[in-house]
Symmetry: C3
């Protein structure tokens, strides 16, 4: 009888284990405040032992571009788009006022996006760059930072997200 009573508990434990606390964040926005929020949540969750995957798409790809890296796209239109849409985590605009916030952050010694991103990488947050929109944005692999885990599309994102307990679109 003890065996049969333990059985369902073991099965339940396995079920719960098969759904560990996973966090996925799609970062579409290139705004400084939204990128900050995304990385604060990502690093916070990773520090709490959760498995975190960030999926960078559209303007969010700017966050993971190397500073000053130029588009190496072959055709002039994509190259021009890449030039206009400059990258690097330290050049993101704010969704509203840019005024003041950056200065306040420095005065209060708050980590900015580049520092948060570094922490995320150190805490093994997985970075996935969206291949579908990279082409669209004139962004090539050689212009992205080191530490990108995967170049993939929506299927890879969904396979992770459906196991996730917290899935955010930012």
């Amino acid at each position: 009888m003890i065996a049969t009573q333990i059985e369902p508990m073991t099965a339940l434990a396995q079920l719960q284990e098969s759904k560990p606390d996973r966090v996925t964040i799609v970062l579409l926005s290139g705004d400084l405040d939204k990128a900050m929020a995304a990385f604060i949540i990502a690093t916070g969750a990773a520090a709490m032992g959760m498995r975190v995957t960030m999926f960078f798409t559209f303007w969010g790809l700017n966050t993971i571009r190397r500073r000053g890296a130029r588009s190496s796209a072959k055709d002039w239109l994509r190259r021009m788009f890449g030039l206009l849409n400059r990258g690097g985590a330290d050049t993101l605009p704010l969704s509203r006022f840019h005024f003041g916030m950056q200065t306040v952050m420095k005065q209060n010694r708050m980590p900015g996006v580049p520092e948060l991103m570094q922490t995320a990488l150190e805490l093994d947050v997985r970075f996935i760059a969206c291949t579908t929109t990279m082409g669209l944005m004139g962004i090539t692999k050689d212009t992205l930072i080191d530490g990108i885990d995967q170049f993939a599309g929506v299927t890879t994102y969904l396979a992770e997200a459906k196991q996730g307990s917290v899935n955010l679109f930012i």
Copy 2:
């Protein structure tokens, strides 16, 4: 004894079946890039066999308006609002630069929002139009595309979302 050992597994299977992989997407934004992201995720999930529900509200309702359809709202203010806020999936603005992206998409034969939306409908993605905000936006049923499954409010959305494994707000 075999029966009792099978029992919990069956119950677990039932539990897992009662929580199938469902995706819900609230599309509030009327920006081209965000609508594209929403439909790429929706069609991707549906192609993977997930049950997908899209809930269109506020500017997201523009995505599912028939091209060139005019508001048939009775009062002048709503009608005017409907005119200013023109609909149709092929007239969505971009959250940042409009320049280039549409051309790059065509050059690379990427599907646009109208094509993605058509695929979504073919893959049985459920479309729900938010009745609360339709009134607010001066949008009437007769100006929306065919294939809307339901005209409903927040309760219908939440009933689906609480069964969902991936719930996004875009």
Copy 3:
């Protein structure tokens, strides 16, 4: 034998009970339409018996500022930022046209953000103000409305969200 067959069901019921229907909403945006959507979902979910937690961060903090309250930040930069970035749920801008919507809402007797927020508080929606960004935005506790349940950071949010069935970032 009956006992062993009931056992897994009880265990399953406990598992389901340990994951009640919880909703978390991060409100980063200060746009009227997005704040409305957030509060419509929050009040709808609370009315359906779900446990709802709203986490106000960045511009979303403006929603829960007392009308006309001035920043009491000591340093001039934060104070200036607080002045520029005026608070109060009735002064939120719209993410697109401001024109018309407010008037249409009044004509149709739709509740605005202040009314929805009041209903949310009455339905025991929990309000958490993000301490990390309060400092950044030059917002102090004494300038926020009454009824804030907690002043906390990302860890508190994640602890709730990982129990949630619907977690939205707005």
